[in-house]
Structure formats: structure tokens, C-alpha cells
Amino acid sequence: MSRSSTKAGGLGPPILVMALLGVLTGASTISAPAQDRTAPLRAPVYRRPLGNEPPTLDPARISDIYGRSVAQQIFDGLVEFDQTLTIAPALAQYWTASRDGLVWTFTLRKGVRFHNGRAVTADDVVFSLSRLVDPKVTSTAADLFSNIHGAQAFRDGRATTVRGITAVDASTVRIVLDEAQVPFVSMLAIGHAKIVPRDLVTQQGDAFGTAPVGTGPFRFERWDRRKEIVLSANDDYFGGAPRLRRIVYRIFPDEQSGAMFEEFRRGRLEDSPVPMQDYPRLLNSTAATHVKRAMFSVRFLGLNTRAKPLTDPRVRQALTYAIDREAIVQASTHGRFVLARGVLPPGTLGYNPRLSGYGHDRARARELLAQAGYPEGRGLPSLTIWATVKLEPEHPLIVRDLAAVGVPAEFKYVTDWPQFSRMLAEGRFSIFQYAWFADVPDPDNFLYRLFHSKSPRNYTGYTNPQLDELLRRGRHEGDDQRRAELYRRAEQMVMDDAVVIPFFHYTYERVFQPYVKSIEVSGLGDPYILFRKMWLEPVP
């Protein structure tokens, strides 16, 4: 999934990501408070902050991390990522694939019931997966599943069902693809592809998103608007009853990370993000378990290759050379995030440490501008950089650096995310600040979705048949080595054409109360924390 960084650089709760495969960051107990064994048992209730009120808890419709974080506990997919980001069976106990990778047959786990007691059937699965490509649902994951046979016809209204998704019998579902895709099963593990009860969703429509019923370890209990969402343990969970009895999501509108941290310090929350301001001091002031993990993400300035003067790659290159990104990243993140030299974060298949990127080189920038016909920026229109929130000191520094090579620039802000998103999709921004969090730990999820000419997420309008070919081959290549090489070439191609100016890769960072045990933050980040395994040490 992805989302624009409306509050990028902000201290938002870690954004739903596919974290780096196999990268573990230290989870260290800074210090543990003295424990009183005679104290009464702690109520097994887990309270965690939610940075905004989610619009819906319907997994197919969720486009933000807030709803995703909650829905992840309520619903199960056919498959899921385990903590090492390996695909593991969930509602599907077993599956097979045809040799060509086009036909996938899933056998459902027996005896799994929704929270309302109804058994899960193949029909629910067919419904749930078909919804993703249903234009009426407008799932942000629709494009991920567009290669399912009949998906496009269904989207186009030429068919009433997705022909590629069928129930063979009550517990067997077959999915037929038009085009084989190496990480197809991984797609089914993303947050959108949860199995919902067909009858309820059909009856309730949008209302399902306010009182969701799933199969997950926790069942929806109540939702106090702008206050809290409460989940309670599902003792009938197929994987065993969770140890926590309840999860309370406290809503702190507009990512009030300072307030969250304060509440955490007072012991009213079990975890909290770490505010950027006074970050080291705050960390040292609390006896908390500090979890830090590189995230499968990239934050960049997208350059609209169809908007003049950015159509000229030399101009795009000049802009990239002009900005002292290293200094800006350091100044704005205090070293918390990793400087991005390319698109793929370290740890991704195909990450290229020898990537030929761009340093800070104003002379080269001027030279390139001159070559493009804008010596010293003369003749260049003023460039507008669009973002959702004003970031100090990052944005002024960017403007200053561009001005230094004679490029006039200014930041403009569209604070409404849906509007920003729409304008982005319509290609109305020449330069935009954007963050991408991978849905699956795969380079395809970065490069194909952001730069393939057919990708709906290609907001830069970049079209390069060679790149498309590389990406297509990447999807079919079973050999990781060759695949990595393909994606390296693709990334290099994107960088050579300076389609984006990458800034940094996010680092997931959060503090937990020391009595919180079994914190299994997978590489997927915050929403994928396995609360069903978590427990609280019974001390005051």
C-alpha cells in the first residue's frame, strides 16, 4: 500500500510499511522499573495511540495506516507474512500452483468462523478478493490484482464477476492469472486482501467499515468517535486465543506525537512514537523498550516528466545535483532516517550499493541547466513543489539550494490528502513530495508501481519502454540473482533519467513500556505487529 506523505517528515506513527526483509533492529530495554511482585495483576488491556481517526475499518477500503493498524487485528487473509516476512498460511491452509504460475488453488482451513459465528466459505473468499478490483469499492490495491483473469472485464463492467476467481467447492478457491507474477501469493498477504463475510458486507455496505466482523484474533467491540476504538480477544481464533484481553486504540487526531509520548510517559499507553523534537533527550528520559527498524520505504520529490521544463532529463538532473540532500536529511531528521541515493532501500532485493547517483554538485547543475538552454536558470519558469504539510527546515533549504543554481522554486501545500491524491493522479503537480511504503518486500512493488508506464501509481508520467520491459521480465524471473540484476538496471535507468529526487528511507521507531513482552514487530512495521502473541508482564 502506499500513501502520500501528507505529514511526511512529521512524527507520525510509523507508516504502514513492508519493512525490510530480515532486517532486525535492536529492541532494547533501556531500563526496567523496579517490579513489585505483590502488586495485583495488570489488566491485560493494551492501549495504543492512533494518530488519526480512520475513515473506515473495511480492509479493502482502508488507505491509511490508522484503519490498517486496527483492521489487521480483526481480519485474516488467505495468507500472511510471518515475522520474518515469509509467506505463511492463514485462512488458506494449503495451496497449489500450476507450473506456469497462472492457476492457484487454495484450500481453506477447516472450521474457521467469523466473529458472528458463521463459518468461512469459499464464497466469502471469492467475494472478498473480487471486491478488491470492484471499481465501486475503489480499493487502493486494485491495481495489484489487475492481472487476475477477468479483473479488467469486471472493472470495466463487462462482467459481473471476476472470472479468474472461483470457488471450486465450499473450501477451495481457484485464482487464475492472466500473467504470472513471481510474488503473487505475497499479494494476498497485504492488508487489503482480508476475508470478509459476504452477507454482512453486502447488507451493510459502507456501514461494515464502522462495525467490522472478521476472523482475526480480536473482535471489534466499539468505536467512540474521535476517542477510541476497542477490540476484545477472540478466544475462538484458529491460531489460539490471544493473551491480551482487549486492545484500546486511543485516537490522537493529527498525529499529536508529543501528547502521545506524554501519555506514554505517564503510563497511560503501552507504546508511543518518538517525537522528532528533542528526540535523543526524550529517548533517554524514559525506561522504555526502544524498537527501531529500517522500513521498506522511500521519500522523494517526484518530477513530472510530462511537465515543462521537466521533460528535459538534463533539467531534472540539474535539480538533483543542485539540492544538498545529505545536509537537508541530516538537518531535518537528526540522522534518524537513512539518506536515499536511489529508490530501493537497503535490504530490498536488487538494492544496489554501487548505484550511480547524484552528489551535491552545483557546478554540474549549472552546466546541465546551461546545456538544457537555461544558463544560470535563465528562461526557467518558477517551479512549484507540492506537499501536504509544510516542513521546517527541509522545505526552505530545498528552495535555497535550488535558488543557488538559479532555479526559482516555491512550496505549495494541499493539506487535504484525498484532494492531494486526486490531483496527483491527475498529474497536476510538476514537482511533488511523496513517500512510498512498499506493500510487499519486493523491488517490483517500488519500481513497477512507481515507474511502469501502465502503473496507476506512476505519478511522474515517466514512460520508458526499456524500463517497462525490464520490469516485466522482473516479474517473471524466478532467479533472484537475475531478477536483482534486472531491478538494478531498472533503478539505474530511473535514476539516470532523474525521474525522482530521493531523500531518505524511513526508520520505524517506537517505544514500548518495559512490561510489554513478545513485541514482534515484523519488517512490515506497526500495523503488522502481532498482538495475538503479545502479553503484559503482570506487575504494577
Binding site: 495468507v79 515469509t86 509467506i87 505463511a88 498460511p89 491452509q93 494449503y94 495451496w95 497449489t96 500452483a97 507450473r99 504460475g101 492457484w104 513471481v182 510474488p183 503473487f184 501469493v185 505475497s186 524471473e477 524466478g478 532467479d479 533472484d480
Partner: protein
């Protein structure tokens, strides 16, 4: 060791072969143990390797299996199959169909039909199976299921060649064999060197020893090393010098010994000669009484040959002469010499020989008892001489008796002759007649008395024994001569023991004997003197002991005068008839006395007193056992 090897080389050969044998044994043991261990380790290692490989493949194939990334699976099997000893790697999917096959890609998608395949596909646990591939090679197949929960997602199979393990085992064996050969070579040559080093000096020593055994004691070795061999050489030199010294000592001792031996031989010859030349028979017996020696004289005497009696008991040999055996045994028992004892030796041929036997214990050096020696003296000649002497004595005595008789009778006969001549002529002469009447009967009476006493002396007298008190008998004698002694101033001293017994004798005979002795004493003291009469117990061993019987106590009567004594010239003749020193004596008194005493089984002798005078001593037994032939007692040697 080869029996053909020469003796001088045997030590070297022994050492060499011993070392080689030990090395062989040790290396064989090492070979067996190491090979066994190594084989087990290699096989175990191969199994572990196979299992690890299969598990590795399962681990890396886990995600591709779930993603159905056949390419990745094929790459995996290809990668694993590229391992040297992996013959094939297969990944089966959950249905048991081949998802990836390194050796037979054409089998992809099919369910393999073999038993091994079925078992591998069906098992929920790791399985190790033996299988055979088309080439005929036997493989170990390691099958590991890929499980997610209880669901089997696939099976990983790895066929592992045994060649690597076998090659490893072979190589180890080869190396061990090489090591053994090397050890044998090194050890053998080392042993050979050492053996040479040891055996050469030893051989020299052996040659030296041989030389020494030939008597070449001047041999010397120069010790070349400081080790045991060197020390051996030094010791050898020391030994030869010692041998030299000892040989010299031995030679001198030997010479001395030979000299002594010659002496001993001489001595033996000497002794043998002495023994042989002895006229006395010599018999020696050992402490058991067995005859040891019989010298030629003894052989002659006894009639036995030394050879036939040697080692036999003397009591058995001399059973006819019990005295000899007895004296020998007694001496063995008493360990005291036995003086000469007369005996009669009964010879083998039945003749008897008078002998005198003396025996003495035979002592070796240091006083050790060896036995007894007995000397047998042949008394035949002595007896013959004695008999001859006795006859001549008797003739002499007869002569002197005849002379005495003639002398005694001659005077009266002369008187009678004279008277008878004058008778015719002077018959009428009154005076003559008167004289005739007085002289002739007196002279005739005198002759008659002489004849009468002579007859008495010669005639055996029957004795009539009665209990007599000897002092009383003596007092009768004193009474008889009381007047004469009074006149002649002879003092009588009596010394009678108090506890004297009565003596069983012929009182008149003994009285007559006492009278004769007192008469004799009075005649020896014409000018007066002292007559001492003594009757005491006799303690003296004045009688020849007869055998070993306890002596009966006897009574001794002494009659002592203080006269001039008897000259030694006359001592032998005192008791002879007609011997007298007195004028007018007939010389028959003492002879008669002697006869009386002897008739009583007693003894009589005399001796000169210390203060002059003569003591006649009569020893009598209170209960005499009168000789059977009283008339012959004078001939008895005893």
C-alpha cells in the same frame, strides 16, 4: 628370527625382527582402530552431511514452495546437485509431484513411481533410504519433509553418493598403509642400526667370552661408548681380571689340594698298611652298629671277609661271639673305652680262638662320634706260653718241694741211718739203746709229720661251714700265744670294725690259717715288737672284677708285724711249700694258709708296711661260693 641366521647374528636379527614385529602389531592395531573409527566417522559424517544438505535444501526451499517459485526450486536443486557427491536433488510438492529435479528435469510434474519415491513422498519425518540409480551406483537418499504446522508442503530429497565417503576411507587406508610402511622402514632401519650398535660389541664380547673360555684371559676391550654396552665392556674387563686372579688363586689352591690329597692318600695307604700289618684284628662299626672295617687280621681271626660283612649289623655278624657284639654295642652306648676283655672267639669254621677284646669310641675331627673300634688280640700263643710256663713252674715247684722234702727228711734219715749202723754193734749198750729209743721214734715222727702235712697240703679237704665271728677266732690265736708274746715283749693291737657280719667259713681251717700267720709274725719279731690285728670291710678293688656285676662287700683281715719285712727277692715264693727263711721251719705254713683261703674263695696277699714290717691281708666273702674244684684253684689265672 630365522633359524638360518648365524648365532653371532641372532641378537641383531632378534632385535630387528622384534622391533619390526612390535611395529607391525602396533600399526596393525592402530590400523584396525583408526580405520574402524575413521570409517564410522566418515559414514556418520556422510549421513550428517546428507541430512544437513537435505535440511538446508528444505530450509531454502520453504519459501519458494509456498510461493510456488519453481525457478527458485530448480535453482536450489541445481545448486545442491552441483555439490561433488550429490547425485541428485529433488523437490516434491505437497502432492508428491516433482517440483524440481536436478537430474531429470523431464520428470517435473509427475509422481515418481518407485518405492523409495513413495516412501520419501509420504513420510512426515526425515527418511534415509538406500537407492540405486540407473548407473547402478548405490546412493543414500535423504528425504526431509517441508512442513508448515501439520501441513506437508513438499519433500526435499537429496541423493548422496557414497563415493566421497568411500574415497575418504580409501584415502585414509592408503595413508595409514603408507604410514605403516614408512614406520616399518624407519623403525626397521632404526632397529637395524641399534641392533648393529648393540650386537657388534656384544658379538665382540661373545668372542671375548669364547676366548676366555679357551683360557685367554689377557683379553681386553676398549669401551667405545658410555652406554650399557660400554659399561658391559668395562665389566667384562673387570671380570677377566677377576678371572685371572681367581684362576691364579684356584691354581694354587688346586696344587695345595692335590698335595693334601696325596698326603691323604699316603695317609690312607699308611693307615691301610698299618691296619693290614696289624696282627690284631680291628673291627670298626658305625653308630648304628654296622660293620665298617675289618682288617686282614680280623678277617683271619673271624673267618669273614671284609666285603661280605661290611654294612651288616655287628650283632648279626658276630652272633656266635656275643661278647664282641656286646662290647661294641656297649661302647657305642657308653662312649667310653672298654679295656681288654678276654673272650673266646667262635670262628666261622666252628673253631674257637682265645682273644682279648678292647673297644674304644671312634672320634672324627672336632670330636664327632663316628663309631666304635674294637681290637681283637689273638691270645692263642699267649695261652700256650702261659700253659708252658705253668708247667715249668709246677716242675720248679715240684723240684723245690722235692728238694725241701729231701732236705727235711734227710736229717732224720741220717740219724736213723747212723743208729741203724750202730745197732748191731752196740745193741747191747744200754746207753745206746736208751738213746736209740728216744731219738729214732722222734726222728721217725718227724718224718711222718712232714709227710703228713705234705699230704694235707696236697689233699683236698672237705670244709664244714659255720657262722663264725672272725675277731673271736683271732682272739683264740692270741690266747694260744699269749704266754710266748708276754715273754718276748710283743704287744698286740686290735682293730676290729664294729659292724662286722658273721662270716660263713670252716672255723677250724680258718683258725689254722690265722695261727700260721700269727706264728709267722711272731717268728719275724724275735726281739719283740707289735702285732696288729685288723678286721675291716674291704673297699679295695683288690679282686679282678668279674663282668659288671656289683661287687659283694667283703671282709678283710690284716695281720701286721713290725719285723724286718720280706725281701722282694722272696716275695714270689712266700706261699710256696717248703720255702722258709726260718731255721727249723718246714716252709709249709704259708702254703697251707694260702690253700685254706683259696678254698674259701678268698684271697691272700702281703705287702710291706710303710713303717716296716709285713702286712698279710685276707679278704673273705661273708657268704663264699666255694670253687667247684677247690683242688685246682691254684691253677686259676684269676
Amino acid at each position: 628370527m630365522s633359524p638360518l641366521s648365524s648365532p653371532t647374528r641372532s641378537l641383531q636379527t632378534k632385535l630387528l625382527w622384534g622391533t619390526v614385529l612390535v611395529i607391525c602389531l602396533v600399526m596393525a592395531a592402530v590400523l584396525v582402530v583408526v580405520d574402524h573409527r575413521q570409517r564410522a566417522a566418515v559414514i556418520d559424517e556422510a549421513y550428517r552431511r546428507g541430512e544437513i544438505l537435505a535440511r538446508d535444501l528444505a530450509a531454502v526451499s520453504h519459501a519458494p514452495l509456498l510461493l510456488y517459485n519453481f525457478t527458485a526450486l530448480e535453482q536450489n536443486v541445481a545448486r545442491f546437485a552441483s555439490e561433488e557427491d550429490v547425485r541428485y536433488a529433488i523437490i516434491l510438492d505437497g502432492e508428491g509431484r516433482v517440483a524440481a529435479h536436478s537430474a531429470r528435469p523431464d520428470r517435473v510434474g509427475v509422481v515418481l513411481p518407485g518405492d523409495v519415491d513413495r516412501r520419501a513422498a509420504a513420510s512426515l519425518d526425515p527418511v534415509v533410504q538406500e537407492t540405486r540409480v540407473d548407473t547402478g551406483e548405490v546412493l543414500d537418499e535423504f528425504a526431509v519433509p517441508v512442513l508448515v504446522g501439520q501441513q506437508k508442503w513438499g519433500t526435499v530429497r537429496v541423493g548422496l553418493s557414497r563415493q566421497r565417503a568411500e574415497a575418504l576411507i580409501r584415502r585414509t587406508r592408503l595413508e595409514l598403509g603408507g604410514l605403516t610402511v614408512l614406520t616399518l622402514l624407519l623403525g626397521g632401519s632404526g632397529a637395524a642400526l641399534v641392533a648393529r650398535r648393540i650386537s657388534r660389541p656384544v658379538q665382540q664380547l661373545a668372542e671375548g667370552a669364547a676366548a676366555i673360555s679357551r683360557g685367554e684371559l689377557d683379553l681386553r676391550f676398549e669401551p667405545t661408548t658410555d652406554d650399557e654396552i660400554g659399561r658391559l665392556a668395562v665389566a667384562f674387563n673387570h671380570m677377566t681380571s677377576q678371572l685371572r686372579q681367581q684362576r691364579a688363586a684356584l691354581e694354587s689352591t688346586n696344587a695345595e689340594l692335590r698335595r693334601r690329597l696325596e698326603e691323604v692318600a699316603d695317609l690312607k695307604t699308611y693307615t691301610d698298611n698299618i691296619l693290614a700289618s696289624l696282627t690284631n684284628g680291628i673291627v670298626t662299626v658305625d653308630l648304628d652298629g654296622r660293620v665298617v672295617t675289618l682288617n686282614p687280621a680280623a678277617e683271619m681271626l673271624t673267618g669273614f671277609f671284609a666285603g661280605e660283612v661290611m654294612g651288616r649289623y655287628c650283632t648279626e655278624v658276630f652272633e656266635k661271639t656275643p661278647e664282641l657284639a656286646e662290647i661294641l654295642m656297649e661302647t657305642i652306648a657308653s662312649r667310653a673305652a672298654t679295656p681288654g676283655l678276654a673272650a673266646t672267639l667262635h670262628r666261622r669254621n666252628g673253631r674257637t680262638v682265645p682273644v682279648e677284646i678292647s673297644a674304644a669310641p671312634l672320634k672324627g675331627g672336632e670330636g664327632k662320634d663316628l663309631g666304635v673300634i674294637a681290637a681283637i688280640r689273638d691270645l692263642t700263643v699267649v695261652r700256650e706260653l702261659e700253659g708252658r710256663l705253668r708247667r715249668s713252674d709246677r716242675l720248679a715247684a715240684l723240684g723245690s718241694l722235692a728238694a725241701g722234702l729231701a732236705h727235711e727228711i734227710k736229717n732224720p734219715l741220717t740219724s736213723l741211718l747212723t743208729f741203724s749202723r750202730h745197732l748191731t754193734r752196740r745193741f747191747d749198750d744200754e746207753q745206746f739203746r736208751a738213746k736209740f729209743q728216744s731219738v729214732v721214734p722222734r726222728e721217725l715222727e718227724r718224718i711222718n709229720g712232714i709227710v703228713e702235712r705234705l699230704l694235707e697240703l696236697a689233699r683236698p679237704t672237705p670244709l664244714s661251714f659255720s657262722a663264725v665271728r672272725l675277731p673271736a677266732l683271732l682272739e683264740r690265736v692270741v690266747e694260744l700265744y699269749a704266754e710266748e708274746m708276754d715273754t718276748r715283749a710283743i704287744e698286740v693291737t686290735r682293730d676290729y670294725a664294729r659292724d662286722l657280719p658273721v662270716v660263713w667259713v670252716d672255723a677250724e681251717a680258718v683258725y689254722q690259717a690265722f695261727v700260721n700267720l700269727v706264728r709267722n709274725a711272731l717268728d719275724a719279731m724275735p726281739g719283740g715288737g707289735r702285732l696288729t690285728l685288723r678286721v675291716v670291710w674291704s673297699d679295695e678293688d683288690d679282686v679282678v672284677r668279674a663282668g659288671r656285676q656289683p661287687r659283694a662287700r667283703r671282709v678283710r683281715v690284716e695281720i701286721q708285724d713290725s719285723g724286718p719285712g720280706i725281701s722282694t727277692d722272696n716275695a714270689d715264693r712266700v706261699f710256696n711249700p717248703f720255702f722258709t727263711t726260718k731255721v727249723g721251719g718246714t716252709g709249709l705254713g704259708l702254703a697251707l694258709t694260702h690253700k685254706i683261703v683259696e678254698d674259701h674263695g678268698g684271697t691272700i696277699d702281703f705287702r710291706n708296711g710303710r713303717a716296716g714290717g709285713t702286712v698279710f691281708r685276707i679278704v673273705l666273702s661273708p657268704f663264699p661260693d666255694p670253687p667247684a674244684e677247690p683242688g685246682r684253684h691254684g691253677d686259676d689265672l684269676r
